[in-house]
Symmetry: C2
Amino acid sequence: MDQIVSAPEMAMQASARDQLKSFVERIERLEEEKAALAGDIRDLYAEAKSAGFDTKALRTVVRLRKQDANERRDQEAVLATYMHALGMLDGADV
Amino acid sequence: MDQIVSAPEMAMQASARDQLKSFVERIERLEEEKAALAGDIRDLYAEAKSAGFDTKALRTVVRLRKQDANERRDQEAVLATYMHALGMLDGADV
């Protein structure tokens, strides 16, 4: 492993190495925050469960609301495209 | 659909409904933050790519570092278990 890594390692400039390190550290920090949020969400479902809610139904509700929101956004995007094509959104531009 | 939903809906107390609503909204807020972080991570990889880094190798590096960290933690946990079993961690307790 050492032999495989050492050759390209030597080929990388110090500045590129620092930049790489910085990217990796920034990614890791964000991944940690994301994992922490995933933990918070898990805790929240557990809290809901001990309050007597069915977590499976709760997950389904959250998913359905997200779908609805996405569909609404899609619908709005299509509508905006049509309205733009028909010059109905160009009031400010024209 | 309306018929299926209306019966259990009426069976739920107003206070439980508020509580349910609160759970759903809190979950959705955390899910949004998580999605935003996922977007930030994607952007960061894109930034690294345009800086000339190979994102596939970068993802592998991040994964390997995480594995190493997890293995180190696992090792430490095993070590602590053994040390505890041998009374090597009980200095303060005994």
